[in-house]
Amino acid sequence: MTAYHLAQLNIARPRGPLDGPLMADFMSRLEEINALADAAPGFVWRLVGEGGADATALRPYGPDVMVNLSLWESVEALYDFTYRTAHLDVLRRRREWFHHDDLPAYAVLWWVPAGTIPTLEEAHERLTMLASDGPTARAFTYRAPFPAPATSPTGEPANA
């Protein structure tokens, strides 16, 4: 088993109220896309608001900053779900619904020990790291990925 999981955070500001006409197409596809993620090979976990089915009600970083936080077995698994499924068609229209004009970084990847769930505070720190230092092993992007650490969190070789 892999000793690390890939964590993914992205944030964005919606262009209108979630129950308004501007966001209607996005909201109507949410359930389908979340089900697709849950069933995707390599999917581990995603953040869900208390009593909800998704994270759309959460605003941990500001009054109108929405979050996506999830865990995957590998960069490839996350890439395949994000870009090689019906999710791509929704992503193609992202600018109709969201902007990130004043956000210094809006998407970050990092490795966490398998079995742990990153906190929203930690996730935000990773985003801040990416914004200030660019891609590093501790906070990176698809276009500049880093491999999982070679040793397990307990110091054993990772793939023993």
Binding site: Y83, L88, R94, R95
Partner: protein, 232 residues
């Protein structure tokens, strides 16, 4: 590397072998090539191996009979087009590097929709410019949807898509923007969809609808042609 690779295609028979393998879009055997092109098996094998040495084809081994174990025969040597890209530009030009910079800048500024607008306009213009379509539309304003779809396939082929008809759809076996699309999928695949939509509009192809279908492999766009054969 690339100049040598492309040079290998200068020999007409070898080029025919390459084009046959590309057209098939799947693994092909020496026997199939020999039979399809009416050449000896030894010559077909020679050309296939030269193409593989040059990095234009990829080699794998498999038993084609479906049997395995003793008595199933030796695995056949099979060939298909390599994913390696070959580009030669004289004098040297670095348009791919420029495309990467432009794409990243567009993504950072969130201007995806502007790119889609431009792609759609250009696609429409390219479809409209297509000489045969103009002539055909003038000559026979009520030509069949099948004729329109056939022309769409021809136009797409001219733009590098490698279209193939399949069960009421046109699938595109090649992504003309592959490397860039891998790095910027929503941006570049969205641009690609808009281009194809524009092309369909420009050609006046009434029965064709382009949509995203990234799970299909090859290009992320599929064109549905549901009335291709039925309606006039």
């Amino acid at each position: 590397m690339s100049v040598e690779s492309i040079g290998v295609l200068r020999e007409p028979a070898r080029r025919a072998v390459y084009e046959y393998a590309v057209d098939r879009g799947e693994l092909v055997s020496r026997d199939e090539v020999a039979q399809a092109l009416g050449m000896g098996r030894t010559l077909a094998a020679f050309h296939l191996d030269r193409l593989a040495d040059a990095g234009l084809l990829e080699v794998s081994y498999a038993r084609r009979s479906g049997r395995s174990g003793p008595g199933a025969g030796r695995p056949a040597k099979l060939y298909r087009r390599s994913d390696t890209e070959h580009e030669v530009s004289l004098p040297p030009r670095r348009y791919q590097a420029a495309a990467g910079l432009l794409a990243e800048a567009l993504e950072r500024s969130g201007a995806d929709e502007r790119l889609f607008e431009v792609a759609r306009e250009r696609g429409r213009a390219a479809g409209d410019r297509s000489g045969s379509s103009r002539g055909a539309r003038r000559a026979e304003p009520d030509r069949s949807r099948e004729a329109e779809n056939a022309e769409l396939v021809e136009t797409l082929a001219g733009q590098g898509y490698e279209p193939a008809r399949r069960d009421g759809s046109i699938v595109l076996r090649n992504c003309p923007y592959h490397g860039l699309a891998r790095d910027f999928p929503p941006l570049v695949c969205g641009m690609n969809l808009a281009s194809v939509q524009g092309l369909i509009e420009g050609l006046g192809c009434r029965g064709a609808v382009a949509r995203m279908a990234p799970e299909a492999g090859g290009c992320c766009v599929v064109i549905d042609t549901p009335v291709g054969d039925a309606a006039p």
